[in-house]
Symmetry: C2
Subunit: 133 residues, 2 copies
């Protein structure tokens, strides 16, 4: 599954959200209160059994619509900001578009976890979940 040049990232789940367009997903730093469900794939569902309402977790997503060729951006997509190298920004466009989302768990039901705030569009792959330490 890996060679010298890449590793295969297999989603553990998917975001179900009312946000359907990238432009509806606010930038980091202007977080809303958007609720979303995460559905965990059955192959790895055993990995979520100790997650419960009230937990603070970090959801890692794969921002699948991002442009992976981008190395410099205008932060917040605002041309009044200086052109900045991507690893010094939270831009979704970057070589490996991993999103980090600190959220609260609102509810757990079967293979689904309800969280907020999660500003990711419907269908965004989830690649990992970790507790906040």
């Amino acid at each position: 599954m890996a060679n010298d040049d890449h590793f295969a990232l297999r989603p553990i789940g998917v975001v179900e959200s009312k946000l359907s367009k990238v432009k509806d997903a606010p930038c980091q730093g202007t977080m809303g209160e958007q609720e979303a469900w995460i559905t965990i794939r059955k192959e790895v569902v055993e990995g979520m059994k100790d997650i419960k309402a009230g937990d603070k977790i970090i959801v890692l997503t794969w921002l699948h619509l991002a442009d992976r060729s981008v190395l410099e951006v205008y932060p917040q997509d605002n041309r009044n900001n200086p052109l900045t190298s991507v690893f010094a920004t939270r831009s979704a466009d970057r070589p490996n578009p991993v999103g980090l989302h600190p959220v609260s768990v609102l509810e757990v039901s079967g293979d689904k976890i309800k969280v907020a705030p999660l500003e990711a569009i419907d269908g965004t792959p989830v690649i990992d979940i970790k507790p906040v330490i």
Copy 2:
């Protein structure tokens, strides 16, 4: 580069560290002061130009020696702890072994970034760098 089932993660760099064995890398929560260098690949080196000494960043690694089949672990590898589902732990063994390391930038030199504390073994692939917000 992607199909329905996986995405190709291409390292942006590599950790150079005095830690050579996994057992030398302390668990989360018992952080040392280990210094390490990150060397950024030349294809993406433009993405680091605005990172400077004093910055607080999050380094994302791919814990390439992890066991990706693990869904439950004894936290801190201690059998006195209850067997816990991996997404409720910081175990390195998990389906997508992404490491999250909040670190300080000590020095930047060419394509290298010196950081601490980074408890990752020599040769660990780096997949992303983001500023702490």
